[in-house]
Amino acid sequence: MDHSGTPSDGSVVRAVLSGDVDQFSVLVRRYRDRYARYAAQMLGSIDAAEDAVQDAMVRAYTHLAQCREPDNFAGWFFLILRNRCFAERRRTRWESDLENIGEVAAPEQTESALERSEVVRGLQRALLRLTAEQREVFVLKHVEGLSYEEIAGRLSTSVAALKMRMHRAYDRLRELLEAP
């Protein structure tokens, strides 16, 4: 417990491992939506994101004893979800994502909003044509607002490697968005 009375991730993880399975719902409530936007952007639809989050949560429970830092459950869970997203991308490829793209960019009402919606869709279509790794770094930096240093820490890679990936993504996006 922290001083506010909210149980820390570590204490919840330990409670679950001690046999109090229902405590896992605390972690589900806490993290079910935190990375939903990331998953939706990676997979191209909210439905696919929901499947991925569900599966990652069940997997996190199954392997909970292997969570080396219970107080960093969030970071560990993110890696599991990330893997699910990459695996799902491999299975579905981008063709099916394009059919569902509208689900991420929800319909809007006004004319200018519709125009913007088209621009947003154009970028999302282009994002889906990047490699999963390029797309991920773009999403984490520009959608989730993380710095290169934060992304590097989360993915156990170097800032230089991430920048190279991102800069290739910029060029590829330009090719895709400016293509006739």
Binding site: D33, K163, H167
Partner: protein, 212 residues
Amino acid sequence: MKNRHWSDQVKQVLDGERELESLPPELRREAETARRLLLAAIDRRPVTLSAALETRIMTRVRGRATARWPRAWRWLLAPTLPRWAMLVPAAAAAALVLVLRTPQVDQSGKPQAMTGQRDSVYVRFELYAPRASRVALAGTFNRWDAAATPLVRVGKDGMWTVTLALPSGQHQYGFIVDGRNWVPDPAAPAVDDGFGRRNSVVSVNTINGRIL
């Protein structure tokens, strides 16, 4: 195609590491285009998943909860072995014949009973090399020592052979003909050795006494 690549300074602006105003005038327009195309179109609205998600997850979690830890403890303490563990023989032994001309792969799946050291499997290596004056075997199992495991010529038809007890795991190897020519085993899978050649691979699995 090169015209479609942003300049490095523009990429720095996109990365938030450089102010647009610091760019020379000819690059500002490019940077503004880049921002409009890439950054202004980003949808950052939060995503909320369905209300039923938690119930679905917890239903599956509770379904898996039964006997996760008890199962582990049963494995440690119970008098009977779990199914897969029963497949581990104390002295598993089998023979694999790797032959140049006619690969003889154990299709029956029944290991040939031979006495071997604990958790090891006898593997017989054969090479057809009629013109060789000597043949040796080197691999991860003998520290790649080219002198450690000579093959013996069998009969007069050019077949060389040696039988080794290999521990469980994966082993890479090659034949050395006449002390200088490295030859992969044509009857075994092979992988790049990192030096521009191929290593043969044998996987010994003593879980069921069978060789992959």
